[in-house]
Structures are given as C-alpha cells and as structure tokens.
Symmetry: C2
Amino acid sequence: MRPTMKDVASAAGVALKTVSRVVNDEPGVHPTTAERVREAIERLGYSRNESARMLRRGRTATIGLVIEDVADPFYAGLSRAVEGVVIEHGCLLLSGSSGEEPGRERELVETFCARRVDGLIVVPAGDDHTYLRSELEAGTPVVFADRPPGAGLDVDTVLADNVGGARQAVRHLMVHGHRRIAFLGDDPAIFTAAQRLRGYREELGGLFDARLVSMRPPSSGVIGDDLARMFALDDPPTALFTGNGRYTVTTLRALGGRRVALVGFDDFELADLLDPGVSVVAQDPSWMGRVAAEVLFRRLRGDVGPSEHLELPVRLVTRGSGELSPDQAGARG
Amino acid sequence: MRPTMKDVASAAGVALKTVSRVVNDEPGVHPTTAERVREAIERLGYSRNESARMLRRGRTATIGLVIEDVADPFYAGLSRAVEGVVIEHGCLLLSGSSGEEPGRERELVETFCARRVDGLIVVPAGDDHTYLRSELEAGTPVVFADRPPGAGLDVDTVLADNVGGARQAVRHLMVHGHRRIAFLGDDPAIFTAAQRLRGYREELGGLFDARLVSMRPPSSGVIGDDLARMFALDDPPTALFTGNGRYTVTTLRALGGRRVALVGFDDFELADLLDPGVSVVAQDPSWMGRVAAEVLFRRLRGDVGPSEHLELPVRLVTRGSGELSPDQAGARG
DNA sequence: CTGAAAGCGCTAACAC
DNA sequence: GTGTTAGCGCTTTCAG
C-alpha cells in the first residue's frame, strides 16, 4: 500500500540502508546517490513510518500530559506552554483530561505508558500513585504539576504557592478592615483547595469561623445557597475569598450584583472589566507548564539529581473588589 | 530491560502466542493456563508495547488534531469534545497548535501522518492543502473543522453558519434603530473573518461604509486606534459588530466604559456579568468538535459516501449591549 | 562510501 | 487448546 524504505531502495537502485542514511541525514552517502534516493522518495511519496522507527529505537519522541480538563482556562494555558516546550524538543504531545476522576487519570497514564511515552507530566486527580512505581523503575521520568503525588512517590513536582497566596489574599482583605471573611472553594480532597483553606485559616487565626467556610464540588450548584446562609448570619461576612477561578465566577454570578469585597484565587479574562474589577491572587499557568516541561526534559537529558520540588510564587492583583471596605458591603451595586 | 511477551511466556511456561491470546482476551485459552499467564504478567509488571502492536496491525488507534491555539477558549472547548469522542472509541489524541501559521499547520499534519494516525481533524491555518493529497489517497480520513480546506480538496467539513450569524447580528442592531454599524474583525485572509464580513455587508446593503470596517491581525494592537478614528467621523458608528471572541474582549477594553451598542461573534464566559451584558452570536465549540469527531469515526468505520459539508447553526443571545438604541450611545457608562 | 543480516515486540496465519 | 513461523518497517551492527 504505502511505499516503504524497501520500495524506495529498489526504485532508486540502492540498498535499504542507503535510503535510511539519506532519510536520517547520516553522513557518508555520495551526493549523487543521495540525490537519486531523494528523487525516488519524492516520486513515490514516501514518508518514514515512525511506528517502526520507535519500535526499533525504543524512543517514541512523545510526551504524555494528563490534566484535569483542557476546557478549563488554567489547564488550557498550561497545556499550551507544555506543548511549546515539547515541540521545541522535536517531540509530540499525547494529552488527556482526567475530569478529576482518579480512575480516568490512571487509565490515561497507563495507556500513555503502554505507548512508551518518553516522559509524563501529570496533574493528578487521585492520591494513590503507586501504580506508577514500575514505570518509574523502567526509567520514564514523571513530573507532577499543580498537585503533588500521593504518599511514597519521590518525583519532581511543580506547585504554586497556594498557602502563601491564600494568606496574601486574606491579609489584603484584613488590611482593608475586614474581620468576617468567608472562604468558598473546591472539595478539600483536592490538594490546592486544602492548601488554600490552610493559608486562609492560618492568616485568619482567631478570627476563623467554620460557618464562613463552604467547600463543595463544583458540580453541586449550591454555592448560592451557602452564600445566602452566610449572609443571613447575625454577623455576616463582609468579604469573600474564592478558592479558584471557577468559584470566583460562580460566586460573582450568585452575588447578582451585591457589593461585597472579594479576592479570588486565579486570574481570569475580563476580571478587569467587571465593576468593580476583581482583585485576584494570580498564578501563571503558562509558567507552570513551561517549568514542568523543562524539568522533564532535563531528566530526559540524563539529569539524575535528587527530585526537585518547585513552588512558583503567586501575585496579588488589585482591581477594586478586594479594596472595598466593610461598610461598603451589602449594598446592591 | 522491560519484560516482553517472550519473558512472560517463559515465566509462565507457555508459548508466546498464548500470552498474546491472554493479553488480547482472545478465546481458546484454558482458564488455568490463562490464570498462570496473568499471574506472570502481574509478577513481572508486564505491559504490552503498543508501538510493536501498531507496527504489526497497521493501525495506531490515534487521532491527530490540529487547532489554532489550545489556550483559546473556543479551541479548548472544541478539543475537549474531540477528546471525549476519541476516548470513547478507544483511541488517543495527538494534538498541536498551529498558531495561525500555515507552515506549522503543515508540519504538524505531516508529523502526525508520519506517525500514521488513523484519522485527522484539522482547523486549517493555511489555504493550500495539496500536501494532504497523498495521505488521503493512502486512505487516512481527514475532517476539516471551523474552516474549509483550500481549493481542490474534497473532504468532510464542519463549519458554523458564519454568514448567517453575522447577518443575524447586524439585523438585530438594525432592528434596534442602528444605521451606522462598524465591523471589527480578524484579518480577512482568515475564512471565518471573511465570511462574517460578507454577512455583515450583505445585511447592511446600501448602508455599508468601508470606513466603518477594521480588520487587523489580533497582534497589531491597533483596534483602539481604529475605533477612535471611527468615532471621530462626522457620522460615527452607534453600534459595533465584533468578529470573534478575542475581538469582542479587546474592543470592550478599548471602549473603556463608553456605551455603544455591541454584538459580538462567539460567546464567552462572563459576558452576562458585564454591564450591560454582552449580546452575542453564540457558536457551540463542543458541538463542532463532537460532530467533527463523529464524522471522522463514521469514515473510520468504513463509510465511503460523498464528502459531507455540515454547517452548524448559531444562536443570537441578547443580554443588553445589543439592545441599546442609537441615542443611548456615546455616553460614558 | 555502500550493503547484508539481524532483530525491536508484537500479531496473523497456520500447524498440531 | 496450544505452539511455530513469518514478518510489520525500521535501525543497528558489521562486512566489504
């Protein structure tokens, strides 16, 4: 069906190996012979079968990326950055979304491994990664991004400063006079959510009040109810800290124009165009992706040093919503 | 290094083929034997080498997806939908972003083809796809999404109703009393931009005024200048039609709170939370992705009917900005 | 500079 | 039920 090297070889009247040399730009082929081979390649429309090459060489020039959901802007940005580095290194990217399901994460990782990806970048959904043990022993480098692996796995990790970022957000609100600061975030089973809760709690100290904390899976759709419950308290919150981009948006929608001080974790498009502009603790998903990919390729180049645990700083961006004072709260904007 | 079927076979005291049978759930293996093989697989930590399998079977169970940029919400949504269908069919997705560069699009497509992807979904950046000819002849199905292929290529295509959507947007603004409607969009070399300009022009008829059209590459950063120029006219626009999500956002930012009627092509997160809410002609990127993937798998299943050319309807979503009357324009919001 | 032979790990086709 | 053989298309090794 498709022409193979053998076909090209007989078309050009040379041996298989000579074609291989030409295709791979190996030295030691007479220019005239090379030209004849190239002409045959062109004429037959030959293109090297990478599957065969991979099998023989034992390298696939493929990196596997498991994220939570490409449609989420954070992971989309991360993916794009990973892709950039991967392409720069002459590799291709196999990617998949776990949808926050540990089973799917594992399935994806195992499928990628069966394809013998040269390396793996994983944003884990689960917290048991013992299934990766044999792959690591086989020498495949793995980098965890955004969230660390489950206990007992010593691999490179690139995280954001979740605790510090949360503390920064809460401190900012406190500086602006708030004492009743609510936290709305994801299920604490998720690492980043738990870390941000921790930072929130640490910074709040004695002001912490469990009634001002709502952590629900994003699908539950009850953030509005939780908010209503909090606002009905004798001492309602005057400020909100939302645990990630999705919650910030959901919360803004649930507020329906009600003016409350708010700082969100994660930056998002149009945060500056809302009224007031939404103050956020911004992560840089591209940076995280790039760093994770670079660590991976360093390993691929043979770096066998101890595992790296990077924590990327985050940045408070003030746009108005986080600078409202407690007495400005409550009014309908 | 890694255990192979041969290793498993000798560990279990059976022949290679028996291991293959067990691994592939082929019938005709005695339960006891199968159990022994499974035990050996478990003990050695064996996992089938898919590269070898691909080479032998001639199918890679891989689909290639070329888009413009994963970090763009439209393409992120499309990717996610494609991924869903691909996984459902037991395949994996190789994806890459062309960054709107025809050269990169071609490179990606050719690399994917060298890996012998079973099928290809392409959002083209260029308009010459003759390089795909040989691949199509080799039997690889290709589906174009969002934009059609260059001349002379008869393949399945899934597009949105760009002309109709643009007409709908302009008509809506006209119904609300506007006669001076500007169009801000992408370089007309891009299919969707050209189609939307066409719809805009058709619907506007005699009211068309070239001075109210600005089509620039998104990188140029001069949308604000163009807008200023238009507003400085004797008969400035009272309404804007923006050609895609990115332009809508850039335009809103450039307007800096100035109240002008506006309808944008493409829906976007938070469009409802801005003041006024942004009216849009909404496409459904997930739908487009799903449909494209389904058409592809139908081909893969052997459908050899004439090429399909699907046009997905779009939907006008009114949120306020598109319902402002001409005399409400000009004020600072 | 060029070529022949072996074999990567698997599956297909056919024995037994 | 099970095993043997050939070979997918390429790279590696070694021989000329």
